[in-house]
Symmetry: C2
Subunit: 336 residues, 2 copies
Amino acid sequence: MPTIHDVAKKAGVAPITVSRVINNSGYVSDHVRTKVNAVIDELGYVPNVIARSLKSKRTNTIALVITDITNPFFNILARGVEDAAFKAGFNVIICNTDESQEQEDNYIQLLLQKRVDGILLVPAETHSQSIELLRKHNTPVVIIDRYVENGGVDVVRGDSESGAYQLTKFLIDLGHKRITLLSGPDTVSTSIDRVRGYKQAMCDHHLNEFVDYFYGKYSQESGAQLTREIFSRKEKPTAIFGGNNLVSIGALSALRQMGIKVPDDVAVVSFDDIPESLSYDPFMTVISQPPYAIGQKATEILVSRIKNDQDVPVEFQEVVFPVELIVRESSGGKVN
Amino acid sequence: MPTIHDVAKKAGVAPITVSRVINNSGYVSDHVRTKVNAVIDELGYVPNVIARSLKSKRTNTIALVITDITNPFFNILARGVEDAAFKAGFNVIICNTDESQEQEDNYIQLLLQKRVDGILLVPAETHSQSIELLRKHNTPVVIIDRYVENGGVDVVRGDSESGAYQLTKFLIDLGHKRITLLSGPDTVSTSIDRVRGYKQAMCDHHLNEFVDYFYGKYSQESGAQLTREIFSRKEKPTAIFGGNNLVSIGALSALRQMGIKVPDDVAVVSFDDIPESLSYDPFMTVISQPPYAIGQKATEILVSRIKNDQDVPVEFQEVVFPVELIVRESSGGKVN
DNA sequence: CTTAATTATGGTACCGTTACCATATTATCA
DNA sequence: TGATAATATGGTAACGGTACCATAATTAAG
């Protein structure tokens, strides 16, 4: 593979001159420029950005550390990231942690070695030592989807608390009292916020005695299992609030197995929508977050951090996207 | 950020010795090793793999160039790639081309500059100059999901032709004659193969006169639009065969808008399943491909190509995964 | 016409690692 | 006991670029 030296030699100039042609920097005569470009084409020379990075200390690469690219929320978010990154001249390395702190740590270590210019992180736990580590190495981070206890980071997320409140209130207004929330891990801010919003709504409507929620996992299995457990109790809920799309789908499939009809026997509502491009007949009443916009915004902030390197320390932002209640069939109608 | 020299200085040894400690290579006394490791921890030294790459000419990074990470087929495939890559010690850069040859070219150029060790490519067109370019630069490629006219590449894909045949035959066995196939772009091997399998099935059952197919795009909009066009003709089909999941969902939504009932008024079948984790009530009769396995296998082949660098030229493989017919409601029952 | 500014090009060193070779010390063996 | 091998460590150069400084040639200015 030819190097800048090969090109220089063949064109009869110094390597630095070729560098100037490639980067359109400094002074180069038209005559030399033409000659050099001709040689570049002839040899099929492609600049080695590794070498460039070593000098410039920039890799033009960012990393997106999420739990699972397979989750529609995250893959749409990833698309928002990729589009914004490409526009800004960055490539994106994708890492799946499956909510495992250990896997997150592994990746952060690798990414530090790779000297990525910045990291978009969905942290596995609310107290993130990853952030401290990255700070120590001057690697900009933007936290997505969740917030953390550590201060001094940019955060871009949806409004889980308000969303949960709205969804719960919606059910209450329909006449539901026994509403069970199947939340995610209690180490994750979204799970906690959703519980908080739910509790607040129950409390505001004097339904404290009916407050009933579980922390589990953000997975189909967790949703299904918790649903089975709930329906094995004496008091059955009249409504189930799934902590995210996977949990809710798990709940629905468990209910179907048990022969319980939705929404006739029990109402089901959910956090996170299934993209309309994937469901031929949207059925679930949901709180919908804008994953594409979240990914895009987070990337823009990260890029600005990367570029502003040594500038005046701009204040850290917390961007909270509003969420939207979408009413469909699964929540059913008024309850007496 | 500390370098190997800083560590060496502080530990009172030469940089090369630190290198030996990091890489567990050569001879290092226990005493020195302990000392060096202590300094590494103290300074928070993280090896710079950029510099390492410059020497070793390995980046431990591969790229996955797909059309759209948002498509469930590709995001599950991406997960298979990421898992296999991580296991082999590689990171994955994701690139979305949206079926645009221009965007593909852009990315290939960037990836060459980045000196990725290999590329997994879903080519936009059947004659791929990307492959020639990569070959010229000695960058291993594995083609996924589609085949190309150029020889001398590894290909990992699903069996579109047989799948389309099975699906068409299934409809024919139900008594359908007027079966319309809404395929993808005619520049893409899967679209062409699906048409071929469909035609073959029609032909084998003496339904040549009913052969009716369209090349469009692999998108919801394309599916919806073609469906509207078809139903504005005098002769309406009794079954629609969507070229992929997005096309089929587009078809379903167009049918719903027109008040045409599925499967009562028209049967609908599709290539590519929606993962069960995303659909609470699977409805569509489909041919299902194994995207995770495809991604995984392709990555394994790519990694072996990368590692075998200068070995005897192993013959190129074409791995064709079998597909599976999954019968659900959308195809309805026997037709008289 | 001298001086200064602009244009054009090149030399050298360095970014952070590691391969290769050299050297020194200790252990092993005939 | 001297020779050989194994162990332990370091010096130097190179990977492929570019920043910085220097120099030469041309143009503009006074």
